[in-house]
Subunit: 272 residues, 2 copies
DNA sequence: CGTTTGCTTGACAGCATTCAACGTTGGTGG
DNA sequence: CCACCAACGTTGAATGCTGTCAAGCAAACG
């Protein structure tokens, strides 16, 4: 029910798994400055994320067409925005490396984190609705995205029904994910929310070849709290409680799950 | 921010407005039994909802093609389901008359209302993700929907880019709406939630030619509470409070907004 | 007309928030 | 290299909003 953006299937990338303590993003010394458009392109057909990203299910010949569509990569530095609310919508983006959050703001300044995106997940679908982006997308670490011009994606979708269908599935999956978050926000208590959040994160990391039991949080307690509809103090307290109960080992942003079954039981428990 | 499924533009249907006290659904004495497929088809090109529904922005020739796609109407009796979680996904549905809720359920029996749908709005988009419906759609009054076979919609979308784009916009709009609900559930207090809910409902009803200040709720306090992440008692108390403060006149499900500005101020107020 | 379902209201309890203080970490500049 | 600062995280105590439980009332339905 709370399965989020990650594909449901247990896909594992062919690339050797990096230990979870390592960054999800590349940490090259020569990282280009924020928002710079890298001159080189990366072919979807040879991308190790192709089983997690837009190309899922496409045949080799179709992939070649997709290669022509996907523009250059773009690098975004930690803390910078890939796009802001109100920006003209031109492209959707596939996270290649790194980690993002999306958030919306109400007029009175409250804001709400609406999602966290990792490698292979798409950003910017909200912009189709009004031709302007409806949220901010902020990099939580130095990241790279593939730029997918939306007009060209529509054009190619009309030629290849497999691509069309895959794109529709991705949008539909986002809707289903959002409904799961509504269930979480509407009916779960703090412990259940945090447990569901951690299980979702590890599941998605596991699908990308990382450990299912250890992770490094890329976001602050406040960002977790915003996503889960809790205050940062409540998030912190709940982490401590989980640690006291032997479910987790928490050392700042390093989390090790020591009792996954216990966490899972929390999520499924009836409100007592 | 909380604008929901309704189109942003202030569209008014050409049909004369029915008083809000009248049912949103037809109450024909000879209403066919639940789920019966009516034999006659209704052309989108002559439907008075065409400015609120899938056909938005399509030219007359394109509309004729859409007519060939949209199957017969289907009637659903109050309390019956248009589809259930797990049902094979074959079609999306456009509400022609009546009123629906969608809900998801967690394993432990808690459920969450994820939306209310009225005339012109689409149902079933969640099913594209896994080829099975991911929620239940329940009619809150006797209703009729237009059946839109999804495979044919994809086919036609590849022929007509306007239709393709409109369909994408509708999916994107649902994503944006869901994010607005997350903001509501994650950061608003009971009064703010109910005020936002009422304003959203009246806005959508107004776009359909109904009064912006009077409405008849089609759902119970419990369903409102589920959607807003509140218990039914809290919903009831908040209605009473609004009445005491002169914002509303509440008589069971008949609501009259007597101070819209006051309601609006509530939504935009900072948590004090 | 009786039964069921939905709505309202009161009293009380509990969970999350608020406010506050303190500890930790990482980056910057002297 | 170290000190300092800012951002982040932890924890305690008290408040309050919403949930829970219960009773009574109103409306809808057969």
């Amino acid at each position: 029910m709370l399965n989020q953006s990650a594909p449901m299937s247990e896909v594992t990338v062919t690339e050797p798994a990096t230990p979870p303590s390592a960054s999800l993003g590349e940490r090259r010394a020569s990282m280009p400055s924020a928002m710079k458009l890298d001159s080189f392109k990366v072919a979807c057909s040879s991308c190790n994320l192709r089983e997690l990203c837009l190309p899922v299910g496409l045949s080799q010949p179709q992939l070649v067409h997709l290669d022509s569509l996907v523009g250059a990569r773009k690098s975004i530095k930690r803390g910078d925005a890939l796009f802001h609310t109100g920006d003209p919508f031109k492209s959707v983006y596939a996270v290649r490396t790194g980690f993002f959050k999306t958030r919306i703001s109400s007029e009175d300044g409250r804001d709400q984190v609406t999602g966290f995106q990792m490698a292979g997940e798409l950003l910017g679908l909200d912009g189709i609705s009004t031709d302007r982006h409806a949220c901010d997308a902020i990099a939580l670490e130095d990241s790279q995205v593939c730029v997918i011009p939306y007009g060209q994606l529509e054009d190619l979708s009309r030629e290849f029904s497999d691509l069309q269908h895959q794109f529709h599935k991705i949008m539909s999956r986002e809707i289903v994910r959002d409904h799961g978050v509504m269930l979480l926000l509407g009916s779960m208590r703090a412990e259940e929310r945090l447990a569901a959040f951690l299980l979702n994160l590890t599941q998605r990391l596991h699908a990308r070849g990382f450990s299912a039991s250890a992770l490094v949080l890329r976001m602050t307690r406040e960002e977790i709290g915003s996503y889960l509809g809790l205050k940062l103090e409540t998030v912190s307290r709940t982490f401590s409680k989980f640690q006291d109960e032997g479910l987790l080992e928490v050392k700042q942003r390093d989390i090790r799950i020591t009792d996954e079954a216990g966490l899972r039981a929390l999520v499924n428990s009836v409100r007592c």
